[in-house]
């Protein structure tokens, strides 16, 4: 009897230990995912009690809507404008605070995380003031340099730059810390011998650090992509409290995919069917981008 119990214990217990995660994931992750797919097949407004089955009509409408493609374009543009400089900056910052003889290393490293601890609302409010058309600090600076003012919110490129700067500000330090953690595991001897051979700091970054922390770079690229494709709070708050915060400007110049979803799910008759279809298409887009980025970043040369 006892041995039987013992056997069961060794066989079953490991599964029990990991079960809480999968149960919670099923309830809060898998079920909503499946239910969203189900809802996306209906003309499902929160304001009405009857929901009629429409098959893939929501998807068909979505792909026909030029505003959807506009939102997708904006999202990708903001993704590139924010992620690329962000990761380069993060690498350089991490490399700088990783130097062996830096004074107050802990303070520098903690400082990197500070922007990320700030609430996104506070960041956007402050940056919206900086990017103000008439009274913003950045325009005042541009004017002092004789360059003229920019209506940041009104232009497509300018609004994307403004939003990207907010994202870069918040996430660069965070990613730098992840890079730093990986860099600390790189054997010091490599750097020492490289220094003896006369390699500069930049050469060491390119030839030792980046190849050595390749898995971490792949991880950070993918996570940043997933986050970047779901950007919502920044454009929403940048648009102000009125309708611009839903459509991303009067010409939809900075409406991202998530804002597009919000526009249909929480305005315009609370059309959850259509919003769910949007959510699934977004999911597909994110998966595609993640795979693409994985393939691309795998091409970084590893350590031999």
């Amino acid at each position: 009897m006892r041995t039987w119990l013992y056997k069961v214990d060794t066989r079953v217990s490991p599964y029990l230990y990991i079960a809480p995660f999968f149960v919670l994931f099923g309830v809060f992750g898998l079920f909503p995912l499946g239910y969203t797919a189900y809802v996306s097949l209906f003309d499902w407004s929160l304001l009405r009690d009857e929901h009629s089955y429409v098959g893939f009509q929501n998807y068909a409408e979505l792909f026909k809507d030029p505003y959807f493609w506009n939102a997708l374009g904006n999202t990708v543009s903001i993704l590139i404008l924010s992620t690329v400089p962000q990761l380069v900056l993060a690498l350089v910052l991490a490399h700088l605070v990783n130097r062996p003889f830096i004074r107050g290393a802990a303070a520098w490293r903690l400082g990197l995380l500070l922007p990320n601890l700030t609430s996104v609302v506070a960041v956007v409010v402050i940056f919206s003031q900086l990017f103000g058309r008439d009274f913003g600090l950045i325009n005042a600076g541009l004017e002092a340099l004789g360059l003229g003012r920019i209506a940041w919110q009104e232009g497509t490129a300018s609004s994307h730059v403004a939003i990207s700067v907010m994202i870069i500000w918040r996430w660069t330090g965070y990613n730098a810390l992840i890079f730093l953690a990986a860099m600390q595991a790189v054997p010091k001897e490599l750097y020492e011998s490289a220094t003896l051979d006369g390699a500069t700091s930049g050469q060491q970054l390119r030839s030792i650090t980046i190849p050595a922390i390749r898995p971490t770079i792949i991880f950070v690229v993918i996570v940043s992509t997933i986050y970047g494709l779901q950007i919502f709070a920044e454009p929403q708050l940048f648009g102000g409290g009125g309708p611009n915060g839903i459509t991303g400007g009067s010409d939809r110049q900075f409406q991202t995919l998530t804002l597009y979803l919000y526009e249909h799910g929480f305005n315009k008759g609370f059309d959850f069917g259509y919003a769910s279809a949007t959510a699934w298409v977004m999911f597909g887009v994110i998966v595609l981008f993640a795979i693409g980025n994985f393939v691309l970043s795998k091409r970084i040369r590893g350590v031999k």
């Binding site: 309830v27 929160l46 003031q129 103000g132 008439d134 409290g241 309708p243 929480f266 305005n267 008759g269």
Partner: protein, 417 residues
């Protein structure tokens, strides 16, 4: 065995997280929940009400504007979680009156005799499209005026006295004409903050707006919709608009800096200007709004059908929206009452603010609120105006010609039908 305990534990956690946990009590005590956004100024009134209704306990839930309404809609859709009493702002009200079945019909609860207490248009806003169901009683209204900068008017050689200023623009055409005079005198300054509010005010003063009485969208066929558009476009091409986006830091700063001279001014806007342009005290004044009538904003109190104490809840909202209570709320918060019997009350007629050169704003707002003619609002009223406003914005920002913008507005409106 262990798994089942675990599942049970998870299940308990989930129900605890989702359920409101209201168990009916055996005794007489009834707890009424009331959900709102911002400050309705009801807090001191609850205590007063409890003095006379010993068995009533009142719990208030306050959240932010959009979050409050999104929660309300999802609670109505899922059939649980809504408060006994829910505040509904006019921007959302018409989406409920189109499908009123999720609310108690207040006409069945004894609201029939109350109609004369409220402004007729305020009453009508909460009536279903077939006029058979009333879903809410009115709290405040946003009686409308035109706020203007006296210093800029003086520089432009325009009159500064509010009676003379009101005489400049009995109609919107004259308002735009005044703007052109202003722009000629002060080419570097702007006459209005943005064009969207002007447009909306013109259309809402008409007997029929963007929807007809049967909830059919008439953007393309109702002539006033296009006439108002053309007049607004005229104002834009004359360079009158400062093309500011409402609720952005730029917009807030402009009140104090004085980059524009006039703004369409509902009652609640005066507090906003006062708080955000403290240095500009005495420079702002208040005149009548062109067209003479208007209201922007304002709320109703509604009773979701899932609430179990309809009778008691109705008694409470009837009391909260009665003239005596609305007067107390007005005195503490400045929310403008929807009960016309107060409009002759000296407390209201004598109400003025030093910031606005002691303009008699109580009188100005009650006159414009009284003059409003009821207009039927359709289910996606707010979205339609947003689409038109975006079109005007594209013209302001030089992205489209007026004809292109109008074509896109019509296409956007068609999708909303």
């Amino acid at each position: 065995m262990r798994t089942s305990i675990l599942i049970a534990a998870v299940a308990v956690m989930i129900t605890a997280a989702c359920g409101g946990g209201e168990t009916p009590k055996g005794d007489e005590k009834i707890t009424l929940t009331i959900a709102g956004f911002g400050d309705f100024g009801f807090k001191p009134l609850y205590e007063e009400y409890k003095q006379t209704h010993k068995n009533i306990e009142i719990q208030e839930r306050i959240s932010e504007y959009a979050a409050h309404h999104n929660n309300l809609i999802s609670h109505l859709a899922t059939g649980s979680g809504a408060a006994d009493i829910e505040a509904v702002e006019i921007g959302y009200l018409s989406s409920f009156t189109a499908t009123p079945n999720r609310f108690h019909n207040l006409l069945d609860l004894g609201a029939k005799d109350l109609e004369s207490t409220y402004l007729p248009w305020k009453w009508q806003q909460a009536l279903s499209t077939d006029k058979k169901t009333l879903i809410g009683l009115g709290t405040d209204v946003g009686g409308m005026a035109m706020c203007y900068r006296t210093d800029l008017f003086a520089k432009a050689g325009l009159p500064t006295n509010r009676h003379e200023v009101s005489k400049l623009w009995p109609t919107w055409e004259q308002y735009v004409a005044t703007g052109k005079r202003y722009k000629t005198a002060l080419p570097d300054s702007y006459f209005m903050e943005a064009s969207g509010n002007m447009y909306r005010a013109i259309v809402e003063q008409a007997p029929t707006g963007v929807y007809d009485d049967a909830d059919k969208l008439v953007v393309e066929t109702n002539p006033i919709v296009k006439q108002a558009w053309d007049l607004t476009v005229d104002a834009i091409s004359a360079g009158l608009s400062n093309r500011l986006t409402a609720w952005t830091p730029e917009w807030t700063a402009a009140f104090g800096q004085g980059t524009f001279a006039t703004i369409v001014c509902p009652a609640w806007m005066t507090s906003y200007i006062e708080n955000n342009a403290k240095d500009a005290a005495g420079k702002w004044d208040v005149a009548a709004v062109p067209g003479g009538a208007g209201s922007m904003g304002g709320s109703h109190l509604a009773l979701p059908k899932q609430g179990k104490h309809a009778k008691e809840a109705f008694e409470l909202i009837k009391w909260l929206t009665a003239p005596e209570q609305q007067k107390k709320v007005f005195k503490s918060t400045g929310n403008f009452p929807s009960t016309p019997s107060l409009y002759t009350d000296p407390d209201l007629t004598g109400f003025s603010k030093a910031f606005f050169n002691n303009a008699p704003i109580g009188k100005i707002f009650s006159e414009s609120a009284k003059a409003v003619k009821p207009q039927h609002q359709g289910p996606k009223q707010g979205d339609v105006f947003n689409a038109i406003g975006a079109g005007l914005g594209r013209i302001e920002q030089g992205k489209q010609k007026p004809d292109e913008a109008w074509a896109q507005v019509l296409a956007d409106a068609k999708k909303l039908a």
